[in-house]
């Protein structure tokens, strides 16, 4: 059984946005700090560090989770996806990202990466949710700029468009 000494630097091999990566961290380092300050993935934003605001949400093994409530060493051997994984640096925006643009689902954009990571998993799991279910999923995120309407409208439009496409096929 590995007992990690508090002062030791742990080597963390994991898959970050589809690429095998390695970094090091003390046992107490938060995943959010590790992603930002060690791995340089600054699309993961830190808003409260107590699990309420949702800004730091990333997907671990495909599930949306708070990176501020996760230790970096816990992702060893796992797959971590941040907002940078969605369209990458140069591919076209995903339909969900584009819908946020079309429906003005973001202003300062600070909460947006977390919301995108939750929503993309949520829609994979539940492709045909009601607006109420979408709002319920969003309740794990705080946004101060938009009043949420643009976000909800963007997600609902994405759902509609996906269904239109599915029906056409």
């Amino acid at each position: 059984m590995p007992k990690l000494n508090q002062d030791s630097l742990q080597k963390i091999d994991f898959t970050l946005n589809g690429v095998a990566e390695t970094g090091t961290a003390e046992p107490r380092m938060l995943l959010s700090d590790f992603l930002r300050n060690v791995m340089g993935v600054t699309g993961c934003h830190v808003g409260c560090e107590h699990g309420v605001c949702g800004a730091c949400t990333v997907q671990i093994d495909g599930k949306a989770q708070r990176s501020c409530l996760t230790l970096a060493v816990q992702v060893a051997g796992r797959k971590v996806d941040t907002v940078e994984s969605l369209a990458g640096r140069e591919n076209p925006l995903t339909d969900l990202q584009q819908a946020f643009k079309t429906h003005h689902g973001l202003q300062c954009g600070y909460c947006t990466p977390g919301i995108l990571m939750s929503t993309s998993e949520f829609l994979d799991r539940n492709p045909n949710p009601t607006e109420e279910e979408v709002r319920d999923m969003l309740s794990g995120h705080l946004c101060r700029c938009t009043g949420y309407a643009g976000i909800v409208n963007a997600i609902m439009a994405t759902i509609e468009e996906r269904q239109g496409k599915a029906a056409a096929e």
Binding site: M1, P2, K3, L4, N5, Q6, D7, E26, P27, R28, L30, D33, E49, H50, G51, G54, T57, K63, A64, Q65, R66, C68, L69, T70, L71, V73, Q74, S118, F122, D136, M137, S139, G140, H141
Partner: protein, 275 residues
């Protein structure tokens, strides 16, 4: 807001976790999802010397039917429970309560047993355990014991778990024929800890009401032959027995008001849906 230093045990088996607890001399904390504990660590409210991570202990990550109960392993997450196929039919109270519990994102990681261990008086899972008269299985290197909810839940974030014990599982009794259930709560925002949560079970002439968020721990009470005529009086008495405290968002009086009013609501609903 960064945690203090701690040694970290990444347990791969229950035995390893128990050994780590036993060796730590009382200041080790188990965590699986960390949805409550990690926040307290970041705030430096909690300060264990050793953290024992059981999220990788596959033998603790299960949901299984054991007799007339669902046994939930320590590493099973709330989302796993929510998507357990028998939930609506066999555990209708949990089915109604879990959507109020945290958020999509925290349920992805938070565990049932973690919530029970944290024992927040307003939390839904401890309330359901108390209301359904479920039990928890505690294990240490010294042995195993099973405690009823009433024996396990002692007070404000305080349980009967000894420092070297791990809650290896929780057991929630299934619905029995003729039972009806209802749950509701008032929280200021979706997913917040409830100001007051109420859960009712009705069966034959027995009515049971569990209340969270008023007393220091979830508390349930049984009535036999509770009639509509004396319901208000009984609920008022129960509300006053629970007491309640003021905080910055709600008064004790309001909490009692909710016991009286929402208590009636869920009792009527539970009676109506007995089947």
């Amino acid at each position: 807001m960064k945690p203090r230093k701690f040694d970290l045990v990444r347990a791969e088996s229950t035995a390893e976790a128990l050994a780590a607890l036993s060796e730590s001399g009382g200041n080790a904390k188990i965590f699986a999802g960390g949805q409550s504990l990690m926040a307290m660590m970041n705030l430096r409210l909690a300060d264990p010397d050793v953290m024992v991570d059981i999220s990788q202990v596959t033998e603790l990550s299960y949901l299984k039917e054991v007799g007339d109960k669902l046994e939930i392993g320590a590493a099973a997450t709330q989302v796993e429970l929510l998507s357990w196929p028998g939930l609506a039919e066999k555990l209708p109270l949990l089915h109604q309560a879990i959507p109020h519990l945290g958020h999509f994102q925290t349920r992805n990681r938070g565990t049932i047993c973690g919530s029970l261990a944290h024992s927040d008086p307003s939390s839904e899972l401890p309330l359901c355990l108390a209301t359904l008269e479920g039990e928890v299985v505690l294990r240490s290197v010294r042995g195993e014991r099973v405690l009823s909810a009433a024996d396990f839940q002692l007070g404000m974030m305080t349980t009967a778990r000894e420092d070297d014990e791990l809650i290896v599982a929780a057991r929630y009794p299934f619905k029995k024929p003729g039972e009806g259930f209802a749950f509701t709560e008032v929280a200021q925002r979706r997913g917040d800890f409830a100001i007051t949560a109420v859960a009712a079970v009705a069966s034959g002439d027995v009515t049971r009401l569990g209340v969270g968020g008023v007393a220091d721990k979830p508390t349930a009470k049984n009535w036999t032959n509770l009639s509509d005529d004396n319901l208000d009086e009984e609920l008022n008495a129960f509300a006053w027995e629970l007491g309640g405290s003021d905080d910055i968002h709600a008064t004790a009086k309001y909490r009692r008001e909710l016991v009286r009013r929402l208590g009636r609501r869920v009792i009527e609903e539970a009676k109506a849906c007995r089947s």
